[in-house]
């Protein structure tokens, strides 16, 4: 018991340092991404990607270490939830930037969003918590993983939508390095599509898990209901885009609204609403 307490205490000290090292690299990457866009420096995006990779290494080490020490994934406390959500967003960004290098300028928005999440987490209580029995289910892993991936995809969609709005409004040559308006619009819809699918899987997995644990697949719990409202908003966005031809500015603004709603559901609501979810998303 004492040995375990010592291990936890020692690890917490290392973990905070690793997180701050990661944040340092992410800040540097953000500066380089922004510099690259505004001053048209050819290789800057590449350097920024390297810095992001350098940041993800200590960040991953911090999360993996925590996982091993506390013997469950990072989905219990605000501190670990924010950090793991930022991690998944950055990993998704790196994968997409490798596939579509032109999209790497979106790092200017994605990386600061991610490191702000980590920094916010670092100001919260980093203590570890044990897993309640009802959370010991494979469906929880599915539920949480897809919620995180949905958040990541939505941040990517938001980045594309914000870049679209900036480029459209400024009409400034400094934005020439970014993709065309049409491509940004298309990418924001594409990432929204990923987010929509992940959000759906998140709801489905949560529902199956709830059925397994409590014998009800839907309980109109505040977070469940907000999650449904967000899903309905996403559904409306998809219809407006496909059938009502909402493109460009209108689409970007609506998507930003959907993003705000999903972030509210994931991050803010568990802290303010009395819900089954807040019981687990603790301290």
């Amino acid at each position: 018991m004492k040995e375990r307490c010592m291990l936890v205490q020692n690890w917490l000290a290392y973990e905070v340092i690793l997180h701050w090292v990661g944040v340092g690299f992410y800040i540097a990457a953000t500066v380089i991404f922004t510099y690259g866009v505004f001053f048209k420096k050819g290789n800057s995006n590449r350097y920024a990607i390297f810095l992001t990779i350098a940041g993800i290494i200590p960040h991953s080490a911090a999360l993996c270490g925590r996982w091993i020490v506390q013997e469950h994934g990072p989905y219990m406390t605000r501190y670990e939830v924010l950090s793991s959500d930022a991690w998944i967003t950055i990993v998704m960004f790196l994968v997409l930037a490798a596939k579509w290098p032109k999209l790497s300028s979106a790092g200017m928005i994605i990386i600061p969003t991610a490191f702000l999440m980590i920094a916010l987490g670092l100001f919260m209580n980093p203590s570890m918590s044990e897993l309640p029995p009802s959370l010991r289910s494979v469906w929880l892993i599915m539920h949480v993983s897809f919620a995180k991936m949905a958040a990541g995809a939505m941040i990517l969609a938001l980045a594309s939508a914000v870049l679209f709005l900036l480029k459209e409004k400024a009409r400034n040559p400094i934005y020439d390095r970014i993709l065309t308006l049409e491509a940004l619009d298309e990418y924001s819809y594409k990432f929204f599509g990923f987010g929509f699918i992940f959000w759906t899987i998140n709801i489905v997995a949560g529902s199956i898990w709830a059925h397994q644990s409590w014998g009800r697949y839907w309980a109109w719990d505040p977070i469940e209901t907000w999650s449904l409202i967000t899903w309905l908003m996403y559904g409306m966005f998809a219809h407006l885009r496909v059938f009502w031809k909402w493109r460009g500015r209108k689409s970007a603004i609506f998507l930003t609204g959907c993003f705000v709603m999903s972030m509210f559901t994931i991050f803010i609501l568990p802290f303010v609403a009395k819900s089954l979810h807040s019981e687990y998303f603790i301290k």
């Binding site: 044990e130 029995p133 819809y189 599509g193 699918i197 489905v204 409590w214 014998g215 109109w220 209901t225």
Partner: protein, 461 residues
């Protein structure tokens, strides 16, 4: 009039408006205390705090939103509208897929390019290059070839909406017919499936009285703890039987329900202790059981305050079931007890099972201590169809977003100097990305086989 109703039901705007209505109703529901979720006292407090809003809320039934007429009507109407549009979608996809003849001009195709080629080998080059990009070639007529990518993707919208309809219909039938009950069972005690023995019940408006054909006998309830006192697992050893099944011992745990026929039994997260106190006098013995409240935080005692039946005593109890909390050691429960008679404390102290308290002419003995365990018993046959609906919905979404159907048509007309080649492309989604792919494909074919570019300006590769 008939046409108007018909048009209204066919309309996508109606479906969208209904979706927005349901979202708005959920938004209201989540901000108003729902009778099914809060205690009656806290609802009354809310009503007193909102004297203007409360009558409106109650008039529209917003305090039980998800059972209100307006909510259910919106859902039913959405199911009807979606079913009708689903038939329309199916017909239109079938029509699109079976389309054979396509007019080849830039009015029909948004993505259109034409050029001249010297030889018929352009056809093989096109099949090869399109194949590398994942397109399947199909000969439509002697002069027209279609290249199709992500063929099932065209059905995505149909599959998605079909899944949603299944989910909504199943959800509705679950709401109407489901039966769910909670029981509290003492160790060595048995539940025989009688309806009045349920502590709490949830039944759909069309559900019959819930009398499950099972009996459950609780042998032992075992909670386990982490070193910090938080609960790590809870399981109950039970014997379950039914008229068509011989009784069998089994273990029900959190996340490990037991299923027998249409009935499913879940371990609830609640458990506690019941203490038996025996009041003895010269001429009689009364044994009474008291259920104690579960503490809010670990390491705190289980508490209870109650009148002792048919006596002047009020007893306050604080039970610490396992003061040492050391594994491989027998637990030695200790209970702090305070007995009052006419508001005067007549006894206060700690007792162990078997201890006796002398109260003058009477005595009170700590006769028994048993755990109780909570179980949820449920009968809801529509759950399977809901999950099937979920899976269909998910499949539809994956088809739509991961397999956007793309079609490229190529026509060849013989001219005096060779062949006039025309390419037209169709994509329902990701049009800008398709445009890029279309240009890349057609221009690389032109660079290999073309002689004269007929279409608009050629974009450099």
């Amino acid at each position: 009039m008939k046409n108007r109703i018909h048009r209204l039901l066919f309309s996508r705007s109606t479906a969208l408006a209904l979706t927005a209505t349901i979202a708005a109703l959920c938004l209201i529901g989540v901000n108003i205390p729902q009778l099914a979720e809060v205690s009656p006292q806290s609802y009354v407090l809310w009503r007193e705090g909102h004297p203007v809003a409360a009558p409106v809320v109650e008039a529209f039934g917003f305090h039980r939103m998800y059972r209100s007429t307006i909510f259910l009507c919106s859902v039913i109407l959405l199911i009807v509208v979606m079913s009708i549009t689903l038939i329309r979608m199916t017909l239109s996809v079938q029509k699109r897929v079976s389309k054979n003849v396509v007019p080849f001009d830039d009015k029909f195709f948004k993505h259109f390019i034409s050029f001249e080629a010297a030889s018929i080998s352009v056809k093989d080059t096109a099949i090869k290059k399109a194949g590398r990009l994942g397109y399947m070639a199909k000969k439509i007529s002697p002069n027209v070839i279609s290249f199709i990518k992500n063929s099932p993707g065209g059905w995505g919208t149909v599959v998605l909406h079909l899944g949603l309809i299944v989910v909504m219909i199943s959800g509705l039938s679950s709401f109407l017919f489901q039966n769910r009950g909670f029981i509290q069972l003492l160790e060595k005690d048995t539940f025989f499936g009688n309806n009045p023995d349920f502590l709490v019940q949830e039944a759909g408006p069309l559900a019959k009285s819930f009398e499950p054909d099972v009996f459950i006998s609780l042998q032992k309830c075992t909670p386990r703890y982490y070193p910090d006192g938080q609960i790590s697992s809870l399981e109950s050893r039970v014997i379950i039987g039914s008229p068509d099944k011989t009784p069998e011992p089994t273990i029900i745990g959190i996340n490990e329900p037991y299923e027998t026929g249409e009935i499913k039994i879940y371990q609830s997260t609640t458990f506690g202790y019941t203490v038996g106190m025996e009041l003895k006098s010269d001429d009689e013995k009364i044994l009474a059981f008291f259920s104690l409240n579960h503490p809010e935080k670990p390491h705190q005692p289980f508490t209870g305050l109650s009148d002792y039946p048919n006596s002047p005593y009020v007893i306050s109890m604080e039970l610490t079931p396992d003061p040492e909390q050391k594994p491989f050691k027998n637990i030695n429960p200790i209970m702090k007890i305070e007995i009052t008679e006419d508001h005067k404390i007549v006894y206060t102290g700690n007792i162990k099972p078997g201890d006796q308290i002398n109260l003058g002419k009477k005595s009170l003995r700590f006769a028994d201590i048993r755990r109780w365990s909570g179980f949820i018993i449920k009968n809801d046959i529509s759950v399977v169809s809901i999950f099937i609906g979920f899976m269909i919905t998910l499949m539809g979404l994956i088809l739509i977003y991961f397999f956007p159907r793309r079609e490229i048509y190529m026509s060849m007309e013989e001219t005096y100097s060779g062949f006039l080649i025309k390419f037209g492309g169709v994509s329902l989604r990701e049009k800008a990305l398709f445009q890029e792919e279309f240009r890349y494909l057609t221009e690389s074919i032109y660079l290999d086989e073309g002689t004269l570019y007929v279409g608009a300006e050629l974009v450099s590769l």
